[in-house]
Amino acid sequence: MIFTITDTKIDRDGLRASLLNPASGACVMFEGWIRNHNDGQEVLRLEYEVYRPLASSEGKRILREAMGNFDIQDAGCIHREGLLELSETAVMAAAVAVHRDEAFNACKYIIDEVKHRLPIWKKEHYVNGDAHWVNCQRCANHAGTSKALPGAAADG
């Protein structure tokens, strides 16, 4: 189980190699890429701010939850911080299992939780010179069930 925050290129082969083992038959990997558009704006690059101490402990907790909730053999996740260019990998999550359904479900769980729970923020820098903190409207619904600020508006 590897969870890492890094300010350099994500080592995809390294994460995969750490999970490879002869008892696993299925490996599901997710990569989040920096895309050139969001909400109708042309994106130039992204800036990730990470509060490492809590991102790291909460990230490891998510991996442990995935191991407990799904019949998988191992899982891992790496998240970038700092300035990222288009098409760079911002996050990679992976799970390995005997059978593929569990690997799919676990990988999806990890990335969903990472996006909702880790103290990570991104600022989009647009082609037109503007910049904007992304407030992930969808988080509202999810976080509303746990620790979100009460009374706040949900996703329209």
Partner: protein, 80 residues
């Protein structure tokens, strides 16, 4: 009175104009403390799905404060 160290992140930091703030307070909960902060830092406002942590542990908005706590105010997260 409790001695509390407050930290703001991302858009909260930009809106407050400071990253950390040492504060003497009668606030009992994280929620009361946040409301107090919006009085001190006019740029700061309540955000959908904001999160709070105390001493590097995720907390709730009704959680009690203790003297010496470090309280972290997180705007809505957007990892990945």
């Amino acid at each position: 009175m409790k001695n509390i160290r407050v930290r703001f992140f991302a858009i909260f930091r930009e809106n407050a104009g400071v990253e950390t703030y040492q504060h003497q307070t009668r606030s009992e909960t994280t929620m009361e403390l946040f409301k107090e902060m919006t009085g001190i830092f006019p740029g700061l406002s309540i955000e959908t799905a904001a999160l709070v942590a105390i001493n590097d542990t995720m907390a709730g908005w009704e959680q009690q404060l203790s003297d010496g706590d470090e309280v972290l105010f997180f705007p809505p997260v957007a990892g990945g």
